[in-house]
């Protein structure tokens, strides 16, 4: 059954990614440790105690964070593409990620940190940056209440460049530039379960909320006018989807810095295998994005070990050619 493929692959990839690293642990031990920790039948505990710490306490949170980043970015990409009705829309193309990144940088430079409803200051700033950027880009691009696709992409590109310059400026006047730079380029910066406590439930909830929009997003593919005639509150739906997508982008950026192309490539591939209907497209994109980023993160750790390649470079190196290939192959169906 083709629906079972992705969850099984994700499970395998999660196990594999927990096994490999600078201290390799046998697959057998990894599986046993994971089963044991999850309270499942695992056989006798024959593994070294330190392996347990490496797999469960250090590596798995990192791997799960990678999965959350991938799922979040892929779902955000799907939502942006459907709402803007443009297959090229993506958290990076329309500036959302740049806004979130500026937010993160600002929060890191602030002398005080705070927590708001379980949200750290970094998440709050990232979300504010992401939402602010989407609204700004939409305002810049819209003429008479609706945004043309080309203007939207151009506005996104210009705003994105401006925000990236803003981030660079902040870095240049800061004495913590190196910390922040290594943070934004360093890939998944999670190495304990604690760091996921507030983020993981929100990512899961946001993906679930997006799934509840699926039937209405399907109708929206017929066009805004037709959707209105079919009883959909188009503006309300678009706002809801943009907020969810911005939230997912912001959380992904706080967990991993810059990870480009996931939101562009994964939904494209999911559409080819599972069709344009959102009830299938959103969960398969989430799973596909998780698999993609976990694999990319694993590659970034082992390819030139002990040197860590930036995760964003790996996703871009894989993502850009795949995207171009999809674009050429699927020219006739070049649409969401």
């Amino acid at each position: 059954m083709r629906l079972a493929v992705l969850p099984i692959v994700l499970l395998l990839v999660l196990v594999l990614a927990s096994a490999v690293g600078d201290i390799p642990i046998s697959l057998e031990n990894t599986v046993h440790i994971l089963l044991f920790k999850l309270g499942l039948p695992s056989g006798a505990a024959t593994w070294p105690a330190q392996d347990e710490i490496i797999v469960w306490d250090l590596r798995l949170p990192h791997v799960v964070a990678a999965a959350l980043v991938g799922a979040g970015l892929a779902v955000a990409g799907t939502l942006f593409q459907s709402v803007l009705r443009n297959p090229l829309a993506d958290p990076y193309v329309i500036g959302t990620a740049a806004g979130a990144q500026l937010g993160v940088t600002t929060s890191l430079l602030l002398p005080v940190q705070f927590a708001l409803l379980g949200f750290g200051s970094m998440q709050t700033f990232a979300f504010a940056g992401a939402v602010g950027t989407v609204l700004l880009v939409y305002l810049l691009a819209s003429i008479g209440g609706s945004a043309r696709v080309v203007t939207l992409l151009l506005a996104g590109f210009v705003t994105s460049s401006f925000l990236i310059s803003g981030t660079s400026f902040l870095l240049s006047i800061s004495n913590r530039a190196n910390d922040i730079l290594s943070w934004t380029m360093g890939g998944i910066n999670v190495s304990s379960w604690d760091q996921l406590k507030s983020t993981a439930p929100i990512v899961v909830a946001a993906v679930a909320v997006s799934w509840l929009m699926a039937p209405r997003l399907d109708v929206l593919l017929l066009g805004e006018e037709s959707a209105t005639h079919l009883g959909i509150h188009v503006e309300r739906l678009k706002l809801g989807a943009v907020l969810v997508a911005s939230l997912l982008t912001a959380l992904a950026v706080t967990l991993a810095g810059i990870v480009a192309f996931v939101g562009l490539v994964v939904p494209h591939a999911a559409r080819i295998f599972y069709g344009p209907g959102h009830r299938l497209l959103l969960p398969t994109s989430a799973l596909g994005g998780a698999i993609f980023v976990v694999l990319a993160d694993t590659l970034s750790r082992v390819l030139l070990a002990p040197t860590i390649i930036p995760l964003g470079s790996i996703t871009a190196l894989i993502g850009a050619p795949v995207f171009l290939y999809l674009l050429r192959r699927n020219r006739r169906d070049y649409s969401v």
Binding site: R85, L212, A214, P215, R216, D218, V219, L221, L222, G223, E225, S226, A227, T228, H229, L230, G231, I232, H233, R271, G275, P276, G277, R279, R332, D333, Y334, S335
Partner: protein, 265 residues
């Protein structure tokens, strides 16, 4: 509420910014009516259709359905009563025909959008009525223009509304498919007691198939009535801003217009 459903437009005015498009238009539509909106380009026909369907709100005047202002009704409730056949859908949509027609059930969707028995029956009925049941599994993007047009009609029929609005439904069709579509509209109007409103450029088709014709000119409703009343009056013919010759259809006995070539000296 009276026994027959009524859509009533009362002294509607509408402007895009400072540009007035509709000026004091009043129109009443009852279930079982078949009304053609005709008039020169830019006379406000499409805008009037949008006001009827509640997509655009008039700057003056009111639209009411069975004496309830459209503005006070929920979007979904309106969508269960008034259906609009899309003029154009993204031709590259990769949904199957059946999936697209099923989206016509959106006003009845539960939170998860799953189709009930009733929904599925409505979709099958709509596919059958428009003669596209053989295409049900095909992708929309693989259809010809005429087939796509029928699928868009099927989507609006699956909506099971009392009112069906169409904006130039015959514009991209050859003669055979034009006749098929117009015959289909007439059958639907008879069988389901639908009220059909269509914006048409083809006055002859309007006169042949529609009981009532409303003529718009520069945002004003200048004539309204049977084809004989409208095309028999000077005002109705003048609205088209070009000399026309009106004759009698030899078998259907409705007025038909012929274009007049301008004589050169």
């Amino acid at each position: 509420m009276s026994d027959v459903s009524t859509l009533r437009l009362e002294s509607i005015s509408f402007a895009y910014g400072n540009l007035p498009v509709l000026d004091d238009v009043s129109l009443e539509l009852r279930q079982g009516d078949m009304l053609a909106l005709v008039g020169p380009n830019g006379s406000g026909k499409t805008t009037l259709l949008h006001v009827m369907s509640g997509v655009l709100w008039p700057s003056k005047g009111s639209v009411s359905l069975d004496c309830r202002p459209l503005k006070e009704m929920a979007r979904r409730a309106v969508a269960r009563r008034i259906g609009v056949v899309a003029q154009h859908l993204d031709p590259s949509l990769s949904f199957s025909v059946e999936e697209i027609v099923a989206l016509g059930r959106a006003p009845y969707f539960g939170p998860l959008g799953t189709l009930s028995r009733v929904d599925r029956d409505a979709v099958q009925d709509a596919l059958g009525a428009t003669g596209v049941e053989d295409l049900a599994r095909k992708r929309f993007s693989e259809l010809s223009g005429g087939e796509q047009q029928r699928v868009m009609l099927a989507t609006a029929l699956a909506q099971e509304t009392d009112y069906l609005l169409l904006d130039e439904p015959t514009v991209h069709l050859d003669l055979k498919h034009q006749v098929q579509l117009l015959e289909l509209l007439r059958t639907l109007q008879k069988r389901r007691a639908l009220a059909v409103v269509a914006v048409l450029h083809d006055i002859n088709a309007a006169a042949l198939y529609f009981e009532r014709i409303a003529v718009l000119r520069a945002g004003m409703l200048v004539q309204q009535g049977s084809s004989r009343e409208v095309l028999g009056s000077q005002g109705g013919v003048d609205a088209f801003e070009t000399p026309l010759h009106v004759i009698d259809h030899p078998s259907a006995h409705v007025p038909q217009v012929l274009l007049n070539r301008q004589e050169r000296t």
